[in-house]
């Protein structure tokens, strides 16, 4: 498999800017270090050459930015999408959140993203450089000798459990598009299911009590694109800036999980951005797993315009009573 370099992306963007296909490029900008990449818009070839990066830290899913960036756009914007990002892209299209005609999507082959926190756990703090080169990562730090780490050991959780290397939407591909993967992504959910109700409650109580209500999970989530979230709306009755008690602490995350159920593509941005490392994706995966079991396999965003099981009706649908009867055992 060929390695996709940032130069290849820059060349592609340059070509599309120069031939007038697009007027803007949505990509990733280099940061202070090798790992703190910021999503950004590029208007010219000069800007691309100066700041554009692509690599193992281009983790941010850019699809949600299309909602805002295409609003007043005349012409087209180029967006680079990793396989998992293409599912969010399709889901947003299903929900009519942006105009497909205004976007030129280039699918980019993805070999998994690296979690800098995992790198730090192995190499220590004081990172001076992280050089990702295929299977290995060379880390230089202030305090330890240079270290070579296997990329597989520091993959982001969502990439270690990657659900698909397949691009489900693109106008053009850079590199290869792979297949849907039979991943182990539900293993952690199964562990939770095997707990007693009390243990499970304690697990979530502990995790959610860490929440600082920064709303990063919601604000990064491509399924959360309400113009005004109920939690910001003083007239909703549930608006709050921080939980008044432990009940409200859970309320926020549970309401959010319900709201995105059936629409969440499992892109994993919620857990990636959580400053408190709460495994929020497990709430969503539980819903995905249940939907698969109750209504048959369904992957949100796999295609544009699909009727999600929760908003569709068939005569074979499970009766609510049957769900209830499953009770504690496999709740």
């Amino acid at each position: 498999m060929q390695k996709i370099t940032k130069e290849m992306l820059i060349d592609k963007a340059t070509e599309l800017l120069n031939n007038g296909t697009v007027s803007l490029v949505l990509g990733w900008k280099k940061g202070e270090y090798d790992y703190d990449v910021t999503p950004g818009v590029f208007e010219s070839v000069e800007e691309l050459k100066k700041d554009f990066v692509f690599g193992d830290f281009s983790a941010a899913n850019l699809s949600k930015y299309l909602v805002k960036k295409t609003e007043k756009l005349e012409g087209k914007i180029l967006v680079f999408l990793k396989p998992c990002d293409t599912y969010s892209f399709n889901q947003l299209l299903t929900e009519h959140r942006f105009d497909r005609e205004k976007v030129y999507a280039v699918g980019v082959q993805c070999d998994g993203m690296v979690d800098i926190e995992k790198v730090k756990k192995i190499a220590g703090d004081g990172i001076l450089s992280v050089d990702c080169n295929g299977e290995d990562i060379v880390v230089k730090t202030l305090y330890n000798d240079d270290m070579t780490i296997a990329k597989a050991d520091v993959l982001a959780e969502r990439c270690a459990n990657c659900k698909s290397k397949k691009h489900v939407a693109y106008d053009e591909l850079l590199g290869e598009s792979g297949e849907v993967i039979d991943s182990n992504r539900f293993d952690e959910v199964e562990k939770l299911e095997k707990m007693t109700a009390d243990e499970r409650f304690a697990f979530w109580q502990n995790e959610l009590s860490k929440c600082i209500r920064c709303n990063a999970c919601r604000d990064a989530c491509p399924a959360c694109t309400c113009e005004k979230c109920v939690f910001n709306n003083p007239n909703s009755g549930v608006e709050n800036k921080s939980p008044a008690n432990s009940f409200e602490e859970k309320l926020f995350h549970i309401i959010r999980a319900y709201h995105v159920a059936g629409r969440c593509t499992d892109c994993g941005e919620c857990s990636r951005v959580c400053p408190q490392n709460i495994p929020l994706h497990l709430l969503n995966r539980k819903f995905i797993k249940d939907i698969n079991e109750f209504y048959g396999e369904y992957q949100a965003g796999a295609e544009v315009g699909s009727r999600a099981p929760l908003v569709d009706y068939t005569l074979n649908d499970l009766e609510p009573g049957e769900v209830f009867d499953r009770g504690d055992e496999n709740a």
Binding site: G40, I127, R218, S242
Partner: protein, 342 residues
């Protein structure tokens, strides 16, 4: 100066805990440190710092202010403030200690915030020098010395020992009470440690971050800078930077309906939020660019303007490591004012 061997550090924690609550950074199940009440078995974290800052001890994320009980036509106002007892916050870094000063200038000036003041009065801070600062640290840009943190007690961790030096009356009282578990010490090792840290500080990637372009009176210079547009373009508008920040001090006051009354509480607010300082006429900052600008102008221009030139940032690096899109005050400073840093 006093010292204790690190092997026996739990004796020190136990001795403090015998008379008052002791909080210190302890590793959580995700491997990150958080301030936790000490009890037997809790180990002082090796981490450089906690994800959340210690400002919670004096300015908690939520805090009940008063309660109203409604019965028929009567409304009873209940003062929910509790008498505060002395407590110790151990292991605070130099940046976070300086952040308390910044909060003091907001909460302790007339009219003094009694909720904050009471807790501040009862809190005893034991600060510890940073042996291994992170690449995200830039406290020296704000004149903070990570090798010499100034709190009620300053501490240095050497290979085998912890050295303690009292700087205030509160600190002296605490060390006096700990005389049984500590021993008299000389400064040699501490001086060595300080030199060692000073060398590392010079090697940090952000060691030369330039603040000279910012400060009071610079509103006109920076307010309409074209760079704000690009810097803020991918900001999600979440509150991560404000909530992990040790100096962000904005709060909102809310009423919680209990059914037969109201609990009035305050909670942290974020200038990144769309309804921040919303008024009857609507919002005064309608775009994320304006909200983003407010946060950084406050730290780099408005705060110093009102506080003898002191910046509203201490360079702890929390926003640098936690922002979901890796946009932060360092990038703002370099792009707005100090291009020569690059």
């Amino acid at each position: 100066m006093r010292k204790i061997v690190l092997e026996k550090i739990d004796l020190l924690f136990e001795a403090i805990s015998n008379t008052m609550s002791l909080y210190l950074p302890v590793d959580q199940n995700d491997g990150k440190a958080a301030y936790t009440k000490w009890e037997e078995g809790k180990k002082w974290s090796e981490a450089l710092n906690t994800v959340k800052s210690p400002k919670d001890f004096f300015f908690p994320q939520t805090e009940d202010m008063m309660e109203f009980k409604v019965e028929g036509k009567n409304i009873e106002v209940i003062d929910t403030r509790k008498a505060s007892e002395d407590f110790v916050v151990f292991g605070v870094r130099a940046c976070d200690v300086k952040a308390f000063d910044i909060l003091d200038k907001v909460f302790l000036v007339d009219p003094c915030d009694s909720y904050y003041a009471t807790k501040r009065e009862h809190g005893i801070i034991v600060a510890v020098a940073c042996n291994k600062p992170s690449e995200t640290c830039f406290c020296s840009a704000f004149g903070i010395d990570a090798a010499d943190p100034k709190a009620d007690v300053s501490a240095w961790k050497t290979e085998n020992e912890l050295y303690l030096q009292a700087n205030t009356e509160k600190g002296e009282k605490l060390l006096k009470a700990l005389e049984n578990v500590t021993e008299e010490a000389t400064e040699e090792k501490v001086t060595e440690q300080k030199e060692q840290i000073a060398k590392i500080m010079k090697k940090l990637p952000l060691a030369d971050l330039d603040t000279s372009k910012f400060g009071g009176g610079k509103t006109d210079e920076f307010f309409n800078s074209p760079e704000w547009e690009e810097l803020s373009e991918s900001c999600l508008g979440c509150g991560t930077c404000t909530f992990v920040c040790p100096t962000c001090q904005c709060y909102d006051i809310k009423d919680f309906n209990t059914g037969n009354g109201v609990i009035r509480y305050r909670c942290w607010d974020s200038c990144m939020y769309s309804d921040f300082t919303r008024m009857a006429h609507g919002n005064n900052r309608n775009s994320q660019k304006e909200r983003f600008r407010q946060r950084f102008m406050h730290k780099l221009v408005y705060y110093p303007e009102n506080n003898e030139g002191i910046f509203g940032c201490v360079g702890c690096g929390r926003c640098v490591s936690r922002c979901p899109i890796s946009m932060n005050i360092v990038k703002v400073m370099k792009n707005l004012g100090g291009k020569e840093n690059e």
